[in-house]
C-alpha cells in the first residue's frame, strides 16, 4: 500500500523529533552533569595525593623501610600536584548539602572560601618542606611528614565531613 503524503509528513516529523529529543532524554538518565564530574575530578586529585603521600607516611611511621629515591620521587610528585589550582574544583552547588551521598565537602568551604584557599596554601608550604627533606634521611622525613599531616588536617578537620 502506498503511503499518502500526509503519512510521509507525519513519519518525518516523528523521526526528526525522536532524533532531536534523544540526547535530551538521554541526558535526564544517569549521565553526570558538570557538578558530578567536578566532584569526581577532585576526588581523583585526592587519590593521587594519597597515592604519593601514603609511602611517605609509611616511612615516617616506620611501617615501611625508608628509601631516599622513593621518598624524593614521591615528594616531587606531591610538589607537582600542589601547583594545581585545587580550590577551583569546588564549584557552587557541589557541597555535601547540595549533593548528599556524593561528596564530603562541607558547605563551610563556600562560606569561607578565603580560609579554604589559605589552608590549601599551607598544604603547598608543607609539601615544599617534605620535598626539601625527603632525601636526607628517615628522621628528617618523619619530621617533615609530621608537618604535612598537620596541613592535611588543616583542611580535613574543618571542611571534610566524617561521612558521605
Amino acid at each position: 500500500m502506498k503511503t499518502s503524503r500526509s503519512q510521509k509528513m507525519l513519519s518525518a516529523v516523528v523521526l526528526c523529533s525522536a532524533v532531536l529529543l534523544a540526547p535530551t532524554i538521554a541526558a535526564t538518565q544517569d549521565t553526570p552533569d558538570a557538578g558530578q564530574k567536578v566532584i569526581e575530578a577532585r576526588q581523583g586529585y585526592m587519590k593521587l595525593v594519597s597515592w604519593e603521600a601514603g609511602p611517605l607516611f609509611g616511612m615516617a611511621k616506620g611501617e615501611v623501610a625508608y628509601d631516599a629515591a622513593t621518598a624524593t620521587a614521591n615528594a616531587a610528585d606531591l610538589k607537582a600536584l600542589s601547583q594545581y589550582a585545587f580550590p577551583g574544583l569546588f564549584l557552587a552547588g557541589t557541597s555535601k548539602t547540595d549533593r548528599a551521598g556524593k561528596t564530603r565537602a562541607m558547605s563551610d568551604i563556600w562560606e569561607d572560601m578565603a580560609k579554604f584557599e589559605m589552608a590549601f596554601g599551607d598544604l603547598g608550604a608543607a609539601i615544599n618542606l617534605v620535598a626539601a627533606e625527603a632525601g636526607k634521611g628517615q628522621t628528617e622525613l618523619a619530621a617533615a611528614v609530621g608537618e604535612l599531616g598537620k596541613a592535611c588536617g588543616g583542611c580535613h578537620k574543618p571542611f571534610r565531613a566524617k561521612d558521605f
Binding site: S50, A53, F57, A60, K61, G62, E63, A142, V145, G146, G149, K150, C152, G153, H156, K157, K162
Partner: protein, 305 residues
C-alpha cells in the same frame, strides 16, 4: 521561740561538725612509705608517664624549656579557670624543700602540705593508683630540675567553688583511695596498659565525660568529653566505630610514638603535648596502652562531631 533557736543552733553546729569530719583530708602516713631516696633516672620516665610538663611547664614552651615547671597554663572548665602552679624545686615559689610524704600526698591524695585539698583539675583521682615507689622516684627527678622563681596566677573560680574544704565531699564521692587493681584474667601487657591508662596516664580525666559534680561518668568511660574551649569534642578512644574500633593495635602504638594517625591524620590540640610525652615511653609501654584501650568496652560517642 527560744527552743526553736536553740534547736536550730544545735542542728547547724552538728551540720558543721559532720561537714568537717566528712571533708577531713585522708593522707598516706609517712610510716607507710618505702624508705630510701628516690631514683631520679627512673623518675624521669615516670615524669613522662604522668605528663607533668603538659600542664606545669610555662605555656608555649618547647623542648628542653618544658623542664622549667613554672606553671601558668590555664585550664578552662565549667567550674571556672584553673591555673597550674609552679612545681619547680624553688623553695619559695615551687615545691623546693617538700618532704617525700608531702609530695606523695599531693600527687596521690590531692592534699597540700598545709592540709588543704587540691582541686581535681590536678588529676590525683588517677594518680591515686600509682605505685608509691614511682611517685617517690618522680620527686627525685623533679628535684633535679631548674628552680624557677615566680608564682603562677591564682585560679579564677566563682565564689562557691573557692571553698577548698568542700572538695573533701567531692573526694568522698569520687575517690576510691585504692591502689591499682589488675584486670581479672589479664596478661602482663594488658595490665601494664591498664596501669598506665588508669594511673599515671590519666587518660580518662579528659576522655571520660563528667557529671554536674565534676565526677567521672563511668557508663561513658573513655567515649568522649566536651571540649574545654567549646569547639569540637575530645575523641572517643574505645574500640567502637565512633572511636578507635577500626584501628589495629599497631596503628595506635605508632600514633602514640609519631603523632601520625591512620588516614593521614594527626593529633591536634591538647593531645599534641600528650603524644610528646608518649613518645618518651618504650615501644612496649605504648603497645600496652594500645592493647588496653582496644580491650575497653566499646561505647558510642555521646556527642558526635
Amino acid at each position: 521561740m527560744r527552743r526553736f533557736l536553740f534547736a536550730s543552733g544545735l542542728l547547724c553546729a552538728a551540720g558543721v561538725i559532720v561537714f568537717w569530719l566528712l571533708t577531713m583530708p585522708r593522707t598516706i602516713s609517712a610510716n607507710d612509705l618505702p624508705t630510701g631516696d628516690g631514683d631520679a633516672a627512673k623518675g624521669r620516665y615516670v615524669f613522662y608517664e604522668t605528663g607533668c610538663a603538659s600542664c606545669h611547664a610555662a605555656p608555649g614552651t618547647k623542648g628542653a624549656e618544658k623542664l622549667k615547671l613554672a606553671g601558668g597554663l590555664a585550664l578552662k572548665t565549667p567550674f571556672g579557670t584553673f591555673v597550674a602552679p609552679n612545681i619547680s624545686p624553688d623553695p619559695t615559689h615551687g615545691i623546693g624543700g617538700w618532704t617525700t610524704s608531702q609530695f606523695v600526698n599531693a600527687v596521690m591524695r590531692g592534699v597540700a602540705p598545709d592540709g588543704s585539698h587540691y582541686y581535681p583539675a590536678f588529676p590525683y583521682m588517677s594518680y591515686q593508683r600509682m605505685k608509691l615507689a614511682d611517685v617517690i622516684d618522680l620527686k627525685a627527678f623533679i628535684d633535679t630540675l631548674p628552680a624557677v622563681a615566680g608564682d603562677a596566677p591564682p585560679h579564677d573560680l566563682p565564689l562557691p567553688f573557692r571553698l577548698r574544704r568542700g572538695l573533701g565531699l567531692w573526694k568522698a564521692l569520687f575517690m576510691d583511695y585504692g591502689p591499682f587493681t589488675p584486670v581479672p584474667g589479664g596478661d602482663e601487657v594488658l595490665n601494664r596498659g591498664a596501669y598506665l591508662v588508669t594511673g599515671p596516664g590519666h587518660c580518662g580525666e579528659c576522655h571520660t565525660p563528667r557529671n554536674l559534680l565534676g565526677g567521672p561518668e563511668a557508663e561513658w568511660a573513655y567515649s568522649c568529653g566536651p571540649a574545654p574551649e567549646g569547639k569540637g569534642n575530645i575523641p572517643n578512644i574505645t574500640p567502637h566505630d565512633d572511636g578507635i574500633g577500626g584501628w589495629p593495635i599497631e596503628d595506635i602504638t605508632i600514633a602514640l610514638k609519631t603523632g601520625l594517625l591512620p588516614e593521614f591524620e594527626t593529633f591536634g590540640g591538647a593531645m599534641i603535648a600528650v603524644q610528646e610525652n608518649m613518645a618518651e615511653l618504650t615501644d612496649d609501654d605504648r603497645e600496652a596502652i594500645a592493647t588496653y584501650l582496644k580491650s575497653l568496652p566499646p561505647k558510642p560517642s555521646r556527642w558526635k562531631k
